[in-house]
Symmetry: C2
Subunit: 584 residues, 2 copies
């Protein structure tokens, strides 16, 4: 294979077009092989093979700098920049991350995993180049649903004023993770239909120069286009029409299914280990659908990620106008939910912990100052869920629990989750966020309330003395286990399900001071700014000692979950050891 000999993009430059095409074929073969065994982003990478080859053929990376938006389509780029080994042999698959990563290669300029950032980040490289009086091309590659994100639109608007070299490759594969939403995609369609000639042009309207490449999977056409814009003296958009999934038939036929995949049988496309148990995702969508049928005011909102909470195409069709995909636009999603709630609708916005970060200001200003009763379902909030550094779901507790008016709940069982969800939909006093459990679905082991209107009331699940363990959400079972272990040590500890992340049950905490000398908090997230610190502050002036468990503040990447928990002493036996030490 030619690809095995490519150690850097320079090795591409002496190849003929036919050889480059062969490289494209080889890259796809390696992609199918690795993805089918390892899982990863499929469609985005299949579609960008030719464009990546052509960029590296025309430009001189790393002097010329290429920044991939989301960077989930950078696998071919990794193969062409000295990292092909990670796609050739299974034992090296995990040598590289699924995103661009500067620690891996000088050809990667940023660690990127959230969408819509590339124009701004690459714009910074261009501005930095200009400030230093340097030269070279800066190329941002954006698309695959990212254009609807506010940061991308802000970046495009700004770029027009730069006045120096800046090349924005718009990878138009006509898809987001699911279908695209938003008016601008009609303009992209019109641009494709007219071969880029239609006079109403979003990019030109934002002040940018523009060219169109209809054959976005044709290496020669791409080389021609990139050669034309290389060393250009002003910002320009190169709009390329690509086919998401190209080269792997199942991924072309069902683009949503194949945006990302767990390991699969390459021949049939079937998952090797399909999830067969019920998940909270499925539970959520089916439950909401059922409620929607009886209440036309309920409206599910997603920001381009319907699959993360069970909104299959079939369910979306069933929900009809009661389902809204705003595209990748979390800020808008939150403000929209606030408006719907204000108008008497019952919006439920489902969003991953890592992505709700994008809407802090909207949660605070648009939603919570206005105190409109929308529901936010925070998905994957846990130290044990996503473990790529750009997708960590560790920070939603400090992010949300310190915003006034927001009721943030942590259910611990199937029944409690549904009770909280139902209650939040009908509750009119405050916005409510619910941290959807990430542990396997389990039935409640203790009575579950149906009404949470009496805010910040923790639930004493087992009354004991001396030690009280406040075990939040996903870590409730860890707390229960620690209580059992303490029992073996002769300590009859109290076990509390706090339920409310965002408030302190001062009555209960005051009561605990009577017969407890140590209070332990457990939370499945970063400790800094979180739940436990509030308890520590409460007991600060008293004789009660507090021990807070959660993760240290740090960015971690592709960590072993069990090792990470142990490193943070998030293990029942360690907790018990610490408690015994403090009791001495």
């Amino acid at each position: 294979m030619i690809i095995e000999g490519i150690k850097s993009p320079n090795d591409l430059k002496c190849l003929s077009v036919d050889e480059l095409k062969q490289v494209a074929t080889e890259i796809r073969t390696l992609l199918i092989e690795k993805l089918s065994h390892h899982g990863g982003h499929c469609g985005p990478n299949f579609g960008m093979v030719e464009a990546t080859i052509a960029m590296h053929y025309v430009f001189d990376s790393p002097c010329d700098k290429i920044v991939f938006d989301v960077s989930h389509q950078s696998y071919a780029h990794k193969m062409l920049t000295g990292r092909v080994e990670a796609f050739l042999s299974a034992e090296h698959y995990d040598d590289v991350s699924g995103y661009t990563e500067p620690s891996e290669s000088v050809h990667d300029h940023f660690t990127i995993g959230h969408t819509s950032t590339a124009v701004s980040l690459a714009g910074g490289l261009a501005k930095g180049r200009d400030l230093r009086g340097e030269h070279g091309n800066v190329i941002a590659v954006v698309g695959d649903g990212s254009l609807s994100g506010g940061e991308a639109l802000e970046g495009l608007d700004w770029a027009a004023e730069l006045g120096t070299n800046f090349i924005i490759v718009v990878n138009d594969n006509q898809m987001s993770i699911a279908e695209n939403h938003g008016g601008l995609y009609a303009n992209l369609a019109e641009l494709r239909r007219t071969n880029g000639e239609c006079s109403c042009n979003l990019f030109r309207a934002m002040g940018l120069d523009y060219i169109y490449v209809d054959k976005g999977n044709d290496i020669e056409a791409l080389i021609e286009a990139f050669s034309k814009v290389k060393d250009i003296d002003h910002p320009i958009v190169v709009h390329i029409n690509t086919l998401k999934g190209k080269g792997y038939e199942p991924a072309v036929l069902d683009k949503e299914r194949w945006h990302w995949s767990m390991p699969f049988d390459a021949a049939t496309g079937e998952l090797l280990n399909p999830i067969e148990v019920e998940t909270y995702n499925e539970l959520t969508a089916t439950h909401l659908l059922k409620r929607m049928k009886d209440d036309s005011r309920i409206c599910a909102i997603t920001a381009g990620t319907p699959g993360t909470w069970g909104w299959t195409p079939e369910r979306r069709a069933q929900a009809g106008k009661q389902y809204v995909d705003v595209g990748i636009a979390e800020e808008h999603a939150v403000a929209l939910a606030s408006g719907i709630a204000k108008a008497g609708g019952k919006p439920v916005f489902g969003v991953a912990s890592s992505f709700v970060q994008r809407a802090y200001d909207q949660v605070s200003q648009d939603l919570c100052i206005n105190n409109n009763p929308a529901t936010i379902l925070v998905l994957w909030g846990s130290l044990m869920s996503l473990n790529d550094v750009t997708h960590l779901c560790h920070f939603d507790i400090p992010l949300l629990c310190n915003i006034p008016n927001l009721v943030y709940l942590a259910p611990t069982s199937r029944e409690e989750y549904l009770a909280m969800l139902d209650w939040s939909i009908d509750y009119r006093e405050h916005p409510v966020a619910i941290r959807v459990p990430v542990v396997p679905i389990a039935p409640a082991k203790y009575p579950v309330d149906t009404d949470y209107s009496c805010l910040n009331k923790y639930q004493v699940v087992k009354q004991g003395s001396k030690v009280a363990i406040l075990a939040l959400g996903n870590f409730f079972e860890m707390g229960a286990s620690a209580v059992r272990l303490l029992e073996e040590q002769g300590i009859n500890a109290t076990l509390v399900n706090p339920r409310f992340i965002s408030g302190v049950d001062t009555d209960l905490l005051n009561k605990l001071t009577n017969e407890h000398s140590v209070v332990v908090t457990l939370e499945d997230g970063v400790l800094d700014g979180g739940f436990g610190e509030k308890i520590a502050r409460f007991y600060g002036p008293t004789a009660v000692k507090t021990l807070c468990y959660g993760a240290r503040k740090q960015f971690v990447d592709r960590y072993s979950r069990s090792e990470f928990l142990a490193a943070n002493r998030l293990v029942d036996t360690m907790i018990v050891d610490d408690v015994l030490k403090v009791l001495k």
Copy 2:
């Protein structure tokens, strides 16, 4: 005056056009009278008088719902919706807020103070109306610089898909607070030049219908346009060309100066009480300008608010390419800064505490995961600065200090601030945020370091025993005062300037345990998720008692600063009382 008789928009509907024009004149007279005595937003309100009258003449508020972006241009709206008294007599000036406020009137649907939110919020009202099967017009009024904000662009993009009545009035006054930045404003100029006829049209490119009103301060033209779109069955943009400041000559001639003003002499436009002492704003811009001359890599970035940190038009001109205004686009600003830093530039982004909220995800992902050495200057971070609920600067500590890799500093004096700023510009290890003091500029009363590379080292300003007071940033003097008061009680307390908001000096805290039984923390922000709680957590398992001072988590509006501090026991004597109680 006619305006005195207008109790609701209904009272407008029977007036002739000439009478409506007279109402416009009366409104401007009242605006000049109130603004000159009270201060407030000038230019935005002067420019929107006719459009507001025409909207209320044509539409039927509150059945038809008007949502003003930023809502700093809603003064005429308030006068026409039963609140004219607050503009007629000085004793009632403060009966209304400077923004729309649902608690004041059914004609106000949201409390709004941040930009770029109206399309999304109003979009929610429209969607809620549709879900409930109701009718009526929904009108979003956006402009005055807001269009460059990601949330506004996300909202416009989404709006095209709504498919039902939604009217977006784009108030194009050719200005932001300062001059507009971003490529889209060239498109607005072209639309104005061609009377809305040019074929490349940003709004149409986003999938929206569109009409243009050239005479945006002509009541008849506006009535005609609004009548045309009233009860329309799909989303449409009504682009109106208005004159910011219209009717008050100084405000027309110097639009930036007159965006907002302190009380002034109506005849001359001169401020009644000009600020004559040096401010941290002035200090920052002059210091950066001086450094820029020696170092072409330094670059000041603002997101549409140059005046908030001393960037007058003259200084902007002097900085040239080393000054970047990205428009109101905080997300982009942070990512841009990250890119510039990555490329070896030295970006300094100045942003108000209330607005840095808009870029949490960018600070975390684009900047801190990438660990690029940009500087963020957080302006107005204090309980004692802005006191409108939408502009509270209480939350930046929990927002920023819990993000890994970010070094967040709190200087306490002129020298310390400049030392930290200089150090941050040259430091290459981490991004640095500095909480620019809001207290009057004061010289340092103790030695100031020039190097902060040894992270999280607190400074012991006075060594004592028994009680230690960790007094952060703006509250350092309050801590010093409490120490003096304790001395009067025979307690020789330790005084610490923590300097680092984002980290715990575990060595020092451990050392303090030897001779101290109470540790007090003081921070000028909300307590929840902040600095003090980290100290409380640290001491949780020990015998050291902690008392944390800051504000309770709550949204407060137009509060008395002194009463607010007292209600939160942020008074030196109260702190001493509490300490003495705990010591007993």
